[in-house]
Structure formats: C-alpha cells, structure tokens
C-alpha cells in the first residue's frame, strides 16, 4: 500500500534541500526525500547486520 506523508518544512529547511538538489544529488525535492529514506534505512539495516553478527 502506498502512502502520502505531508512534510512540513520552513523556508530555511527548503533552502537547504534546494541547495542540495542544485549540487546534483537529486532532480527534485520529492526524489531527494526518497533518496534520504533509502540511504538512511540502508545504513540502519547495515548497522543491524553488524550488530547481529557480533
């Protein structure tokens, strides 16, 4: 099931993500947020694997 989350960002937060987009990290705001989610989740999954292996 898909889901829509309505992010609430102020102008300073939008400026930061727009500058990040301008560096070529993502093509638009929504793509950037989804990239953040994938990378953030992947990093936590990797951490979990390392913790489990110990």
């Amino acid at each position: 099931m898909t889901k829509i989350v309505k992010l609430r960002l102020n102008q300073q937060q939008l400026e930061l993500i727009d500058r990040t987009i301008a560096q070529g990290v993502a093509v638009d705001r929504e793509t950037l947020v989804r990239l953040a989610l994938r990378e953030y989740a992947a990093a936590r999954k990797a951490d979990t694997v390392v913790e489990t292996a110990r």
């Binding site: 992010l7 609430r8 937060q13 993500i17 989804r34 953040a36 989610l37 989740a41 936590r44």
Partner: protein, 311 residues
C-alpha cells in the same frame, strides 16, 4: 624567517597574571617551571576588546580538551580563529570550567580573601583599561578535567613536568592575559602555587606553515555590520522607543511538501522512523529522517564546527 626569534621573557609569579601584547605572527610560550601548575588564559582583539576568546565556541569546535592543532575562537558574531595551538607537550587542557572566583573560595572554603583567577585576570588587564566585568571564561592550560556519569564536570591532579609548554601562535593582533591559577586548595595545580615562564617569539616560516586554513565566511561579522555598533557607556538598561525588531528570516513560513511513498518505502520508513519521539506523527518523523540523513552525508565536522582544511 628561518628560526624563531625571542622577543621577551617573563616569569609569572604565583598569585599574579600579566597582560601581554601578541602581534599576528608572534608566539607566546607558557611553560612550566616546577611542573604541575594550571595557567588560566584569556585574550582579546588588541584593536577591539569586544572581540574575545570564547570557550563555548572553542569547545564546540574542538571538544573539551583542545590541544596541538586546534584554534582558540572568538565569540559570535565574530567567530574568528584568534590563536593556533602550535605545540602542546602535555596535551591536556580544559575549556569546561570557568575561571575560579573569590565567591568560590568564600562559599566553599570560608576565605575572606584568596588568590583566584577572576580577580588576577581583572587586575592584570586593568593595565589596559579593562574592568572586572570584562573578564571572560578562561582557557585553562594544563588543567586536567572531565565529565562524570551524572553530567558534572570534575577536576583532578595534573602530570605536567618542568619544561612542559604550550605554544600559542597569534593569527591576529591580540592582548593575551595568562595567569598562575590561584587554586591551592583544589587538585587543579596539585595543591600548590608555582611560577610559570612566558616567552614571546616571532614565529618561523616553519611555524607559520603549520597553520591549517579556516574558512572566511560572510557570517563572521564585525561592528561595521551591526545595526547598533556603538559600545554602551552607561550602566542602566532603558528601552529604545524607536526600536523595531528585524529578526533574520522572519516570519518563519511553513510549506507542505507531499511525498508519495511506495509500499517498499513505507516498509523502510516504518522500520526506522522514531516513533519513540514522534509517535504517530509521520510528517515529523520523516522530517527528522531527512535532516538526520543530510547531517550524516554532508556535515564535514562536529555539529557547529567549520571544515578546517590544510594550508
């Protein structure tokens, strides 16, 4: 200059301090004579005393125990690197504790009068027209401190030996104010007051080449940028009837940004979102995730610290 040239030497006797002009490119060596002596230290921009070394800023950038290879920073909104710690043979300094004061010795030990770093600093800098209110929290050289499990700062004995030293290189013209810490009934200086040796030298080319570059940014503001650049000369505070608030970036305006998550992304989000903090507020949890990710991916130094590079 191929080698350091000594300009002056001075012995700082117990219970005293000394205001010393240190011009850009000069080095102040603070050296143990007998060992085991804490030196409290402050400095001001020689041409504008309102710019001064700020322990809060310095500890944000370099941690609780700055040593060789770190800077002493001035307070916001200046936030400039004032001094560079060129060499430190012990490697244990403190920016957690404020200078000790007369109040401490009266309240805790019952002394009517006792040597204390605030009053020593005040007396030393009086030579340059500064008042006791102009003393700031000190950078405490050779002082051995930490934070216990309850979050309290503690101090313990130090291990410095005769000849140990810290070399401070001026990156701008400053008035330095080192003093022999007045604490003889605490562990700070191993329960004794001892002299310190001060040496001012002109830095060599090798010394100057060791200083990493730090960014020069528009946010490092000076009085020419202030809406009120005038130093207040009377003591009472009175409201300015003409005052009109001009806070930057206000009003804060919120924009809604809908993000459509796929089934796979919803599963990822549910696995990592901070429900312990945000409960069922997914918008707040996703905002947290977004900026947490940004910090992890793009911040180059500790939070609030500039990226310091090679020269």
């Amino acid at each position: 200059m191929t080698s350091r040239q000594i300009i002056s030497e001075f012995i700082l006797e117990p219970g005293t301090g000394k205001a010393i002009e240190l011009l850009k490119g000069q080095i102040l060596r603070i050296e143990q004579v007998e060992g085991g002596q804490c030196a409290d230290f402050n400095c001001f921009n020689l041409h504008d005393y309102k710019e001064f070394m700020h322990c809060g800023r310095t500890r944000t950038v370099h941690g609780f125990h700055p040593t060789t290879g770190t800077f002493m920073w001035s307070a916001p909104p200046r936030e400039r690197a004032m001094l560079y710690i060129l060499e430190d043979t012990v490697g244990r300094n403190d920016v957690l504790f404020p200078r000790c004061s007369a109040y401490v010795y009266e309240a805790a030990y019952g002394f009517a009068v006792h040597t204390n770093c605030h009053d020593i600093q005040a007396e030393a800098q009086r030579e340059y027209g500064l008042t006791p209110d102009d003393v700031h929290d000190s950078f405490n050289l050779f002082m051995c401190t930490g934070v216990d499990e309850d979050g309290h700062a503690f101090m313990t004995r130090q291990t410095s030996k005769p000849g140990d030293y810290v070399d401070l290189l001026a990156l701008m013209d400053v008035l330095t104010v080192p003093n022999v810490c007045g604490a003889d009934v605490m562990k700070t200086s191993n329960f004794a007051l001892k002299p310190l040796k001060l040496t001012v030298s002109a830095a060599s080319d090798v010394d100057l080449a060791k200083v990493p570059s730090v960014p020069i940014l528009a946010s490092q503001r000076t009085p020419k940028d202030f809406r009120n650049p005038i130093i207040k000369t009377d003591r009472p505070l009175r409201r300015d009837p003409a005052y009109k608030a001009e806070f930057p970036n206000t009003p804060i305006v919120i924009t809604e940004l809908p993000i459509r998550l796929t089934r796979e992304e919803v599963a990822m989000f549910n696995a990592v979102k901070r429900t312990d903090i945000y409960g069922d507020d997914d918008a707040a949890a996703l905002r947290d995730l977004l900026f947490s990710w940004w910090e992890e991916r793009f911040l180059q130094a500790h939070a609030g610290a500039p990226a310091i590079g090679n020269p």
